[in-house]
């Protein structure tokens, strides 16, 4: 085994000799530089392997022939090897990234770089306090100098600020060391730790505080971190990534090493400071538009979080594995993602995130960027996700709720600005200029880090959490489809359908009928809907992968065996949905809103799951949840999370944008299938609640919320001009029905909920597919620009007609069944006023439904649509399938009522009687089949009569109408469509004000304003930054309360 001290020896010797070597040419110098850096990586890899997989004990290396504490010693254990492997690798990769620069610059640059990396190695390994100081200085000085690698004023001034800050903090560090020496008579960390009783008194703690706080300040806590931000922004990306990642890793490790010196009771101060840093840095980040400074804020935030995690785990003394997942997860996530992203900023070289549309010219780079960004945002399967999961559990089990809230809010801010950036990269106007071809030397490091990120993620999933293979499918689908990108869209669609079928086959049979019901919706429904997308031309890269990701993760929700697996797939689903929305032409803003709300929901759920016990079961969670009592707090958090997905009132503002701006053939997935995941979630919570009901019943309030969603959704839908927005709000309204009926927690209520779910799934799918066809043909979403299409697109018209009859609940179609069940169950439960609200809502639904069908299909045909044809066959196939579905359950309601009765029978005693086609509740009865027959009868009789007595009708042209005064001028002015319900709008008065929209707008404005306010502290003045540092030390000491 290679003694790790050789890293120091070799680096120094080569460093000393480089000036001479360089005389023989830069190539030789570079050869030596890369040689040594690779040597470092190799050594650390071997040791890491030894510790992690062979199980070697950690290594102690003493110097000068004496044993510590007499001499300085170095330690190399698993953690050291892990950190150093990463750090050296990042060092090597950054050097590679800087290849061009290093080739041209002064030889000193190479020396500084080499010795910098050596310093990192020394710093991580040393166990001597003063030696740490020396290595920190080595690190700092080489960094200071390297800052000037690009000779511009900004980097010089940033460097100077950095030096002032660094100089003073290391002075404090030195003072801390000497005070500790004064008390313990020793400088060896292990000896000092052994004699920590000597430091127990006030001034002893003060000494430790000085030591730790100066390292902490090197980790850039808010607000004593202005200097670091300037450095991140100004300095060459290659060097910045070294500073942000390699240096930070080393300093962080020092923090980790010396933290045990501080008595446990003081550790919370650092937890708090770390979390405050995380929260505020991310908050301020939302105002930032310079990508490097943005990453700077994110870096600082992440380091704050790691500090908090380390301090907290040190305090709690919890198991090593958890520490590794939690602190290590955040760390490695930050490490890999941040380095990679900084490199990418160096490749793109655009100092405004708005200009990042240029990234689209380079697909591989875009993909790498995406992976890193998603990793940084803490989404699965990347390590940050698992870390936050464990963190939530630990914080909750120790009642650190404020901390958890701050972390989650901070994460949300972070996700917001990262995804905004991503949105710009994907969607913003592409400039004429094209991206220069990227050097392999610059792309390679990013690729390597992305690969490591992925491998780490897979490793965690397999080794730590032992996930079933099925949980990998959503991600695997994305990569699989990426590899098959060369195929034509139709082929990919067929492939996707095959995958969905195979997937469905593999999870079949499901344990319970409830699962099967959702299986039908999520899997079979999706399979049918994919047919619609076959109409696409070309390759449409990056579509089927995400679509499959969404479908498979939804399927996985049903069979998830643990909360973690459930949440994992929930997040997968969200990511896929986000990307699909982003694909839409104007998808940037809606996608951002969607992901922000979704992640807010996800974080609420994360907190909620924190309260839950670990479930080890071989059954799906939906089946075992009944035996688990969910604490009230968790229940509310989870419900909120699910309500966001179900677009409940107050949390609905993402829905119109997301539905409207997603591509037309994708919206049906969202409206009819994706929206049901929230309902599935609600059921999950509700099943536990009915078995362990508590005094406070959140579902009562949920019922009201559902009612309000229903009525508000209906109002909003009525006043839309955009057909997709109209249907989006209609979804909100319909989901309100479902939410309320789930909340009834009664037999009839749940039958009604499931019936509504299935019904909504079908009619929303067919309407949206038909609408997609119409939009495809007419090229507009504005309803008033259409009209009279019934003659051109009769099948689509019939679909929409049947759809709206099913929505409105007019007998004889299945919609009436849902209404009948809903009102019966509400009245039975005693929810009278709620039922009244639903009556109102269902009345209002006529308004928007009529508006939709009339303005599109009836009335006057526009000239420009004279040659419109029926929608392509791919749109019609799913429509016909769903029409058949609706007709079947309308004619024979037993097909669905009976299974639902037995599903719900598992949770409640039955309160209905089914006799033939007659369903009798405690209040009334309904015979669907008979209604159908009578209706057909009363319909056919007048029809036959009319045909018989009025057979000689004469077809007339468009404008042959009874019109006062003169002949109408054009379809545009004759078609009554625009602002159709203006009188209703007037009548409703105050009810129509967009209060919720305004509320969220002001939330956003306030966040921005607060962020703007806080970032004023970063004046750019080096002295002010120094003052911040000093004040920070004082304030933190006050908080320490010694």
């Amino acid at each position: 085994m290679v003694n790790p001290i050789y890293i120091l020896i070799l680096s120094l010797v080569i460093g000393f000799l480089l000036t001479i070597i360089d005389k023989a040419g830069r190539k030789l110098s570079l050869f030596f530089l890369y040689g040594v850096l690779s040597f470092n990586v190799a050594v650390m890899f071997i040791w890491f392997y030894q510790f992690a997989f062979v199980g070697r004990a950690s290594l102690m290396i003493h110097t000068a022939g004496f044993i510590a504490p007499i001499s300085i010693n170095l330690k190399l254990g698993l953690l050291e090897a892990f950190v150093l492997l990463l750090a050296n690798l990042a060092g090597l990769m950054s050097a590679m990234f800087l290849f061009k620069k290093l080739k041209e610059t002064h030889i000193s640059g190479l020396i500084l770089y080499l010795v910098l990396i050596m310093g990192v190695n020394g710093l991580v390994m040393t166990r001597d306090l003063f030696n740490m100081f020396v290595f920190i200085e080595i690190l700092s000085i080489s960094t200071y100098a390297l800052i000037s690698i690009d000779e511009n004023k900004r980097s010089f001034s940033a460097g100077f600020k950095y030096m002032i800050a660094g100089g003073i903090t290391s002075t404090f560090f030195l003072l801390g060391i000497i005070f500790i020496y004064y008390f313990t008579g020793n400088l060896n960390l292990d000896t000092v730790l052994g004699n920590s009783s000597m430091l127990a008194m006030k001034t002893g703690v003060f000494s430790i505080f000085l030591l730790i706080v100066s390292i902490f300040i090197e980790l850039k806590p808010f607000p004593a971190n202005g200097w670091a931000l300037d450095v991140y922004q100004a300095v060459n990306s290659g060097i910045t990534s070294v500073i942000a990642v390699v240096n930070s890793a080393a300093i962080l490790f020092v923090f980790y090493k010396i933290l045990p010196l501080l008595p446990d009771q003081y550790l919370m101060v650092f937890v708090g400071a770390g979390i405050v840093t995380f929260l505020f840095s991310n908050l301020i980040g939302i105002k930032q538009t310079d990508p490097k400074r943005l990453l700077g804020y994110s870096s600082i935030a992440q380091m704050g979080l790691v500090v908090a995690a380390i301090s907290y785990t040190t305090k709690l003394n919890i198991s090593q594995d958890l520490v590794f997942i939690m602190a290590g997860g955040i760390f490695i996530n930050h490490f890999l993602a941040k380095a990679g992203l900084f490199w990418i900023t160096g490749i793109i070289k655009r100092s405004e995130i708005k200009d990042w549309g240029i990234l689209r010219n380079n697909t591989p780079l875009l993909l790498l960027f995406g992976v890193l960004l998603f990793a940084l945002a803490g989404l699965p399967p990347f390590p940050g996700f698992w870390a936050k999961w464990e963190m939530a559990k630990i914080f909750v089990s120790n009642n650190l709720y404020v901390g958890l809230a701050a972390v989650l809010i901070g994460s949300l801010f972070e996700a917001f600005y990262l995804f905004r950036w991503f949105g710009y990269a994907i969607k913003n106007e592409r400039k004429e200029e094209s991206l220069k071809p990227v050097d392999f030397s610059q792309l390679f490091p990013v690729a390597v880090f992305v690969l490591i990120t992925l491998l780490t993620s897979v490793w965690i999933m397999i080794r730590v959490y032992a996930f079933d293979l099925i949980n990998f499918l959503p991600v695997a689908a994305v990569f699989g489809m990426y590899l098959l990108n060369f195929l034509k869209a139709k082929l990919k669609a067929v492939l996707a359908i095959i995958v969905v079928i195979l997937y469905g086959y593999s999870i079949y049979p499901l344990e319970t009928a409830l699962q099967s019901l959702f299986g039908i919706i999520f899997v079979i429904g999706s399979g049918i809907m994919i047919i619609t997308t076959m109409n696409r031309k070309g390759k449409i890269s990056g579509f089927y992968g995400f679509l499959l990701m969404m479908i498979l993760s939804m399927g996985n929700l049903i069979i998830a065996k643990s909360f973690l697996s459930f949440f994992l797939n929930w997040e997968f689903m969200t990511i896929a949905a986000y990307l699909l929305i982003l694909r839409g032409k104007k998808g940037q803003v809606p996608a951002l809103t969607f992901i922000t709300f979704s992640l807010a929901g996800a974080y609420l759920m994360l907190a909620g799951f924190g309260f839950m016990p670990n479930v080890l079961s071989s059954n799906a969670i939906i089946n075992t949840i009944g035996s688990i009592e969910i604490p009230l707090a968790a229940m509310i958090l989870l419900l909120l999370g699910f309500l966001i997905k179900s677009a409940s009132f107050g949390l609905h503002i993402w829905i119109p944008g997301a539905y409207a701006e997603a591509e037309d053939d994708v919206t049906p997935f969202f409206a009819s299938i994706f929206s049901k995941t929230g309902i599935f979630g609600l059921l999950l919570v509700a099943i536990s609640f009915i078995k362990h009901s508590s005094e406070f019943n959140p579902f009562y309030w949920l019922g009201w919320l559902g009612a309000i969603s229903a009525i508000v959704g209906a109002f909003l839908a009525t006043f839309q001009e955009d057909v997709k927005k109209l249907m989006a709000y209609s979804s909100m309204s319909q989901l309100g029905y479902i939410i309320a009926s789930v909340s009834l927690l009664s037999h009839l209520g749940w039958i009604s909920a499931l019936y509504l779910t299935l019904n909504h799934f079908m009619f929303k799918a067919m309407i949206f597919v038909a609408i997609a066809g119409v939009i495809h043909r007419t090229g507009t979403r504005q309803m008033y620009k259409m009209g009279g299409l019934i003659k051109k697109m009769p099948i689509s018209y019939i679909t929409v007609l049947i759809g709206i009859i099913a929505v409105s609940g007019v007998p004889p179609l299945s919609g009436f069944g849902s209404k009948w069940l809903l009102y019966s169950s509400m009245l039975e439960k005693g929810w009278y006023l709620q039922a009244g609200v639903f009556f109102f809502a269902s009345g209002v639904s006529f308004l928007y439904l009529y508006r939709m069908i009339h303005t599109i299909f009836l009335g006057q045909l526009k000239y420009e649509h004279q040659n419109v044809k029926e929608a392509p066959i791919y749109f019609l196939i799913p429509q016909v399938i769903f029409i058949m579905g609706i007709m079947a359950i309308s004619m024979f309601p037993n097909l669905i009522i009976k299974p639902l009765n037995s599903i719900v029978g598992n949770y409640f005693a039955s309160t209905i009687m089914i006799d033939g086609y007659n369903v009798t509740s405690s209040l009334g009865h309904w015979n669907g089949n008979m209604v159908m027959m009578v209706t057909m009868g009363v319909f056919i009789v007048p029809l036959v009569f009319l045909i018989l007595f009025n057979g000689r009708t004469q077809k007339v042209k468009q404008f042959n109408i009874v019109f006062a005064a003169e002949r109408p001028e054009s379809p545009q002015t004759t078609h009554f469509a625009h602002n159709m319900f203006s009188h209703y709008y007037k009548a409703l008065g105050g009810l129509t004000k967009p209060r919720i929209q305004n509320f969220w707008n002001s939330v956003s404005e306030w966040s921005n304003a607060i962020a703007g306010l806080f970032r004023q502290i970063y004046t750019g003045n080096g002295q002010t930054y120094l003052l911040h540092i000093l004040l920070y030390i004082v304030v933190l000491y006050i908080f320490l309360g010694v």
Binding site: F16, A145, S148, T1024, V1034
Partner: protein, 227 residues
């Protein structure tokens, strides 16, 4: 103005933080364990009169290597920062007398410097102090002739190889005495206490340090003092 108040608050806060330490400060009566071991070890194990030197070169040898590295980095860093394209040669001859005098002094001072680091294990001073003296000698040259052209090649050679040898001596310990003996001075016989040739490799190391520090500081002075 508010800024002033915050400055005063910060300083006041710092003073208040330090005050308890000063108030409770109590001088130790005797050396701690570690220091005593150092003093005794210096006499018994290392044969070095100057305990500080023993500590600096041996016990905390890694620190010293680091320190040399820091200085080396500063040199490289200043070179990196103040890097320029080829220097324009414009010679301004200063007076003959000053040059002769300074060259004479140069030799004298360098000799003193060498003396200091050679006796680092016996008397106060050592590599650093000696090195600074050497640099001062060259400073004189710079002062005498602002455009003095050092022989950079020699300077670089001295700097590079003194450092390299320093590390190699440490490496020799590793090679000869095992994995815990990086920078072990006992690779060279310890000699007798109080003599010039004692304390094993300490004088050698200190000499190398002296040369290295001297050449590095000279480079710094050259960089910062030159046009």
């Amino acid at each position: 103005m508010i800024n002033r108040i915050f400055i005063l608050l910060a300083l006041l806060g710092l003073i208040l933080m330090f005050l308890p330490f000063l108030k409770d400060f109590d001088f130790h009566d005797q050396l701690g364990d570690l220091s005593s071991q150092y003093v005794e070890g210096s006499i018994n194990d290392l044969n070095s009169q100057n305990v500080v030197t023993s500590v600096v070169v041996t016990y905390r040898g890694l620190d010293t290597l680091g320190e040399v590295t820091v200085l080396f980095l500063a040199t490289a860093g200043i070179g990196f920062l103040l890097r320029t394209k080829k220097r324009s040669k414009k010679s301004r001859k200063s007076s003959e007398l000053l040059q002769t005098a300074s060259q004479f002094l140069l030799v004298l001072i360098i000799l003193t410097g060498i003396y200091i680091f050679l006796h680092g294990h016996l008397t106060p001073g050592g590599g650093f102090q000696g090195g600074v003296l050497i640099a001062t000698a060259f400073l004189l040259l710079i002062l005498a002739d602002a455009n003095v052209e050092f022989n950079h090649k020699v300077l670089h050679l001295v700097e590079s190889f003194s450092g390299t040898f320093y590390v190699l001596i440490g490496f020799l310990g590793l090679l000869l005495l095992g994995m815990n003996s990086f920078l072990d001075p006992t690779i060279i016989p310890l000699g007798s206490f109080g003599k010039l040739l004692s304390a094993g490799a300490i004088p050698v190391i200190y000499s190398l340090v002296g040369l290295k520090v001297g050449s590095e500081l000279t480079t710094i002075l050259d960089k910062m003092g030159g046009e």
